[in-house]
Symmetry: D2
Subunit: 294 residues, 4 copies
């Protein structure tokens, strides 16, 4: 299968490399050229444009950061229109349910296919091919691209036909990550006000009840009060919580925790933390209680 | 060491049995007699009253359900006044920081010692001696009771001198449990509104990012929509969140998530769910979005 | 001055009539024809299109329901491009700060002027020319259109140059209306749970501390539990709170009450109340406490 | 009728003076002596103790600041036991529903009567005899004390028999005051972020939609950023919101706005504002958005 890959950021670069290791023929394109060179050195072919790349794919994988860039790179550029009939576009980034639906309809009209396949896992996991991949799309199409996805993930999690379904699962999972951070932040602020430092408190809970990757990863940052370099910048976290709020609005499902998160994230950004990791929500929780001045 | 044990509920009974297995001499007392008989059959001695029991202890362990029962069974009854000089009272239940401070002061006046040692773990973990035990109290006294606590727990987590410290850690950990449930409830309501059932969604997140005991235990209840028999009744959960709110008030630390939890728990109880497991907060989240009527 | 008026809904119709009474020459256009006929009978001239209308105006007033309709009726139609040089467009509806900025820039490029002038007041107030009008725009331009605005309002409230300023004041005022409703709803639910009906409670507070139009108007609906016909539909109220949330995001100002309102409004709409007056938030507050079942 | 008055703070002093002006025979007692001297100069008789005062009353009015002081001054002192048979105790302060019920039962046992009559109005209104008085208690007893209450208030608002009812109305009204302040604070923070100062914004809304005493009084403080001397200290405001939360818990009625208020008040107090007027919640709203640093 000829695989095209567009969007070679921290995640995408490792994923494309992993496809090469698995023996796939991979063509790549990226808005900035550096990662293209790296991948060419590893065996990939460089395309001159997203549109040129699309024209030669059986499978086009995109890993672009947000709705806007998907629109710009693949839709407005008419790249998708260049795809061969019956080819498949797999969008592995986190986008809105609305965009997923729109892309599904667009491909229907073009005679190509759309699969949503957002992933759980950070860049190191991506580079190791150990992602968890949530997949929605027509079952027969999902089946066709399974060999490609299996090169990237330790497990595929199919969640049905409708293209927005996998998006919503990803959005809901990221919302849960944000709640885990806020929860650690608030709980650490409370215990700190009683003289117990965050390092002690979070070691206890993340070694026991909350011995899970999400808590241990972000918990480590909070324990060390080290929020740069950011794995997930506050501003991106805000974008993800906004996606949850938009989905909750679309289907009229109140999400009280998301409202709290929205305000904590705005508070953090208003205090200059937009580029810190969103684990720095713990600092916002401490500031509410004026803990640094005690 | 002669150990007295008061409060033989689901947790206490397994803990007292574990002390017997570890070779300690254990005298027990309980407000209702059935568990006393069970433990006597396993080698314990029955005391006629809490006060009679206290009079013969090197170490008195109490595992009573709330502040009120501690006051009634141990303080108003003058049981603590019967303790030998230099003996130690270990309170292993979840009580308020205020009560911990008051008990610490009371023991100081009586010439006995007070150690806070609340636990993380459910009854089956208690019966296996595998609890995680958070401990605060004078270091020398902590050291003296370590052999007793080691019979009950897989690990001790010392958090300092002040008696309320261990309480606050436990209260904060339970607050985090409540946030984990609410988070799963809200996220499941959102994904369900897009056609993905809770079983599918929660299998994904609790197998990956949230592969931790707290999420897997409560997640299982939500996936199966089975909230009885309750491990932690909604009404007890409300009591625990109220302890977090009281602590946050005492030290003036805002806890926005706790305010949301308070309302969700009240909503649940107003709808007849006081005796369900607090994992049924997921039903409250679904009700807010009227999902059953869709 | 030749005045054009676009957007003859419940508000706009009374405002245009008021301009005629004040002796202005008024040309009107509307997407649905009925209100045009009424106004022609009162002395207005009908234009064939928004663009035709714009071509003949010294002052163009628009009272269109939301950002989308402004874009469609005035921008996409190229109506604004037809405005004579140095003419003034007064937007008296509630739109987003972003749209106000965009329209300001658009008019700068076209050689025409833009004034934001959203209003406080319901249709009967509009028809009586007693609106309160919040105005932002270049001072000299504000001055030029003062005679027109004075025909519509009992008082003008200038808030500076930037076109989005008046929008934000209006959005913030509507946010305050929503909080007043939610506050009455929650307080009435609480007192009702103690046996005091909403009619008794709200009579007391709206006759004393809260003897203000906002409280008395919405309080009457809650006291009578009569939410149709809607003055402000729940769905429009949601749109207005969403504008507050968007503004709060744009400038990174947390608004915790807006988050609560968002969820209460979603809850209401999920329960079928989208077309009721947003005073029906009181029913949502009662439902949270299951009061109807007590 | 012989009237005894206990609790001569800022409110009580003016109320007792008003009773004297109305021609009642008034005996007074207070924990600190200064206001007693003032009232004796105006014609009151001083009692040596609350108990001595109670022994000579047809009607005992208390205006003590909280549950604790009522308990100490009237219950623990056995003052209430000294009341003549069939006399009436009117509690005009804001206390918890639980205390109102307990006092009702206590008086039933003693052969005296209990009326709850909390008031709406600040000290100047009290001194002018223009309070609004919410009354609950047995109808025949309410009738007997009407002449006394009419000397103090411009209007009586009866809300039924149960002693806690009037308390809950007062608590709910104070909760609404707090929401009005928070609403002005959040809305002012938002508009300020767009360059409109609080003075301008609040003049508009408190002259129009929100032209009510509550908004104008607190609005003035926020417009002038002058929070001392406090009419209602932040710490007392917290006590009142806590009463609302306790009532909401007792009857299982979620109050999401009260949760937000609780956190804003804690944030304010953690930042040193406990003695400022609670209108200073506006500063907390601004701090969340870091407005002073912009």
């Amino acid at each position: 299968m000829k695989v095209g890959f567009v969007g070679l950021g921290a995640m995408g670069q490792g994923m494309a490399a992993q496809l090469l290791k698995a023996g796939h023929t991979v063509t790549v394109w990226n808005r900035s050229p550096a990662p293209v060179e790296t991948l060419v050195a590893e065996g990939a072919t460089a395309a001159k444009s997203a549109r040129a790349l699309a024209a030669k794919c059986d499978v086009l994988i995109s890993m672009l950061p947000d709705d806007h860039s998907v629109h710009e790179v693949l839709v407005a550029s008419k790249a998708l229109e260049a795809l061969p009939k019956d080819s498949v576009h797999i969008n592995m980034a986190t986008v809105s349910p609305g965009l997923a639906r729109a892309l599904g309809a667009l491909h229907d009209g073009l005679g190509s296919h759309y699969v949503s396949a957002p992933v759980l896992g950070r860049p190191d996991v991506a580079a190791a091919g150990k992602l968890n991949i949530i997949v929605s799309g027509a079952p027969a199409v999902q089946e066709r691209v399974t060999p490609v996805l299996e090169a990237l993930g330790q497990r595929l999690w199919p969640v049905g036909d409708a293209p927005e379904r996998a998006c919503v699962v990803k959005i809901a999972a990221n919302f849960m990550l944000a709640t885990a951070i806020e929860s650690m932040g608030e709980a650490s602020a409370l215990t700190r006000a009683y003289g117990i430092d965050a390092d002690t408190f979070l070691e206890i809970v993340t070694s026991t009840l909350f011995a899970a990757p999400a808590y241990q990863g972000y918990g480590k940052m909070i324990r060390e009060a080290r929020y740069t370099p950011a794995g997930m910048k506050m501003a991106w976290g805000f974008k993800d919580v906004s996606l949850a709020l938009a989905a909750s609005q679309e289907r009229q499902v109140p999400l009280p925790f998301a409202g709290v998160l929205r305000d904590s994230l705005l508070d953090a950004m208003a205090h200059g933390d937009a580029d810190k990791d969103w684990a720095a929500l713990a600092e916002t929780a401490a500031r509410r209680g004026n803990l640094d001045a005690r």
